[in-house]
């Protein structure tokens, strides 16, 4: 479970930065970038607290 949550968090981090990089190279409009960043932000804060700062169960 922990691994899955970590992967989702990683995807959220990707969603935070990759759209802006795509915008930088002209492959994505800014409106879409902003929406994906917001979605990624929600996912990051919804998922990450369930594994970060917590000790992995044995």
């Amino acid at each position: 479970m922990r691994k899955i949550l970590q992967i989702i968090s990683l995807v959220a981090l990707g969603g935070t930065i990759i759209p802006s990089m795509l915008y930088c190279v002209g492959s994505m409009p800014l409106d879409i970038v902003k929406w994906i960043m917001l979605l990624a932000t929600i996912v990051w804060f919804a998922v990450t607290p369930f594994w970060m700062n917590r000790k992995p169960s044995a």
Binding site: T16, S20, Y23, G26, W35, L38, A40, M52, K55
Partner: protein
């Protein structure tokens, strides 16, 4: 990162380990407040990387980047000046702070008490607490610009040093009150939240740059440098009322902006947990993520605003971040200000509580938070952050010189280290006078010798070092004479 989460509160706060703060011990476990950190409690290199990267990507970075632009920084001066200045800061942590920290493994507070005596440390705490309050005020200001945008409030401009509208005052008060109450009730929860937010926040800062660059005209790596010089960091005259920042200003400013922590030795409390002194290099994570890329990103946001409307010189992180990254950018501004103001208020509260130990931590933190909130209502602290941070470093720098000289040099001059502890004095006048005379000399140098505040701490450190040796020579002799009489 998890190692850090368990220990960061202990590591970060020099005052936390003051002996008259039993609540802290209860909260955070074994802190080794009056003893060296034992071998079993030392931390690995990764803990320090995580701590510095998170700690130095703060709300105030969103002010500082634009203020470099307002100060007329050119592309070369900013990019190379920051590169070298931050390197000097890392070297200061590595070769000045960490070697002492890993040898004595004591908190700044206890180390200072041994050298200076309890009463002088109390004055130091007061100065530190007040400066922390004002710094937290600037962080609250940053967060309030995001809240102000949501409620369409009339926000302060670059030249507004006083509260400019009722809406602004209410906005700052609301943000400040929440931060203060949370700092008083749930410091550890916010500390954990800050750790969670840190990686996301760093990436949002990077996203600001990626969004701003094409809008400023950068369409390939090849034309970055020409656009940077022509459209972004154009150099030339600073904004009215701002000092022109040259290469040397930027180098010295970025070196000294955390002077209280490295040369001023606050981070003795952090590196006492380090296995090796070279772990000081971990500060580079904070310097190059926060004080390099984050500042550059923030200045790009302001450059974009000026590019669109050269008359709009308002440095308001909320609207700038919203414009670049939408609601995620706005959330970043609120969280960046909140998560860094929270520990700052907490630390200021602890510094004050060391002075008035009978008043409860809760009350002191609330009062401290309200003081920071009051400061936050005055945009001066945020709009003049370059000057304020330079002043902060200068104020605490002499005590760093005292610790450095006391540890490395005093015995070579036939004098006693940790003299207050040995002589059972509560106020080491040699250290006290070193502090006050150095500050007086620095102020005179700034006022009458034409040395700007951004540079004065360098000669100031040498002045403090020489003064401490000379004054100790007289003071220790005098104390011995009165003891033997």
């Amino acid at each position: 990162m998890n190692d850090l989460n368990n220990n960061s509160e202990n590591m970060l706060d020099p005052n936390q380990s003051a002996p008259d703060q039993p609540e802290t011990s209860a909260q955070t476990g074994d802190e080794f407040e009056r003893e060296p950190v034992p071998q079993r409690s030392l931390l690995g290199f990764k803990s320090f990387i995580g701590m510095y990267a998170g700690e130095h990507c703060a709300g105030t970075e969103l002010m500082l980047g634009p203020l470099f632009l307002a100060s007329g920084a050119s592309a070369f001066d900013l990019i190379v000046g920051l590169l070298i200045g931050n390197l000097l800061a890392v070297l200061s942590w590595m070769f000045m702070t960490a070697p002492i920290a890993t040898r004595v493994r004591l908190t700044l507070y206890y180390q200072l008490e041994k050298i200076c005596g309890r009463k002088l440390v109390t004055i130091y705490n007061l100065a530190n607490g007040v400066m922390f309050c004002f710094l937290a005020g600037a962080m609250i200001t940053v967060s309030a610009t995001a809240v102000g945008l949501c409620f369409n409030i009339d926000m302060p401009g670059l030249y507004d040093y006083y509260p400019n509208s009722i809406g602004w005052v209410l906005s700052v008060f609301g943000v400040g009150l929440v931060i203060s109450v949370v700092a008083a009730y749930g410091y550890q929860t916010v500390s954990k939240f800050a750790n969670i937010a840190a990686p996301w926040m760093v990436l949002v800062f990077f996203a600001f740059a990626f969004v701003a660059l094409p809008q400023l005209g950068v369409d390939s790596i090849g034309n970055f440098w020409s656009v940077a010089n022509e459209n972004i960091w154009k150099g030339g005259e600073p904004f009215e009322g701002y000092v022109k920042f040259t290469f040397w200003h930027i180098l010295f400013w970025s070196w000294f902006c955390n002077m209280a922590m490295h040369i001023g030795m606050s981070d003795l409390s952090v590196f006492r947990f380090a296995k090796k002194s070279w772990y000081g290099i971990a500060s580079g994570a904070g310097m190059y993520v926060g004080h390099y890329f984050a500042w550059i990103s923030a200045s790009l946001l302001f450059a974009l605003q000026l590019h669109r409307n050269p008359l709009n010189q308002d440095v308001l992180p909320g609207p700038m971040a919203y414009d670049a990254a939408g609601i995620a950018g706005l959330i970043c501004v609120v969280i960046a200000g909140w998560t860094t103001a929270n520990p700052t208020i907490y630390r200021a509260g602890l510094a004050f509580q060391a002075i008035i130990p009978k008043v409860s931590r809760f009350k002191v933190t609330i009062m401290t938070g309200l003081l920071a909130t009051l400061a936050g209502m005055f945009p001066w602290f945020a709009m003049k952050l370059l000057d304020f941070v330079a002043l902060y470093g200068m104020l605490l720098m002499p005590m760093g010189a005292v610790i450095f000289v006391d540890f490395w040099l005093l015995k070579k001059f036939g004098l006693q280290s940790n003299y207050a502890e040995l002589s059972r004095k509560t106020f080491n006048w040699a250290a006290g006078l070193t502090w006050f005379l150095t500050l007086g000399t620095c102020i005179l140098l700034v006022k009458f010798a034409g040395i700007q505040i951004y540079f004065v701490s360098l000669p100031g450190w040498f002045i403090a070092s020489v003064l401490y040796v000379v004054l100790s020579k007289f003071y220790q002799k005098k104390v011995h004479q009165s003891a033997s009489a």
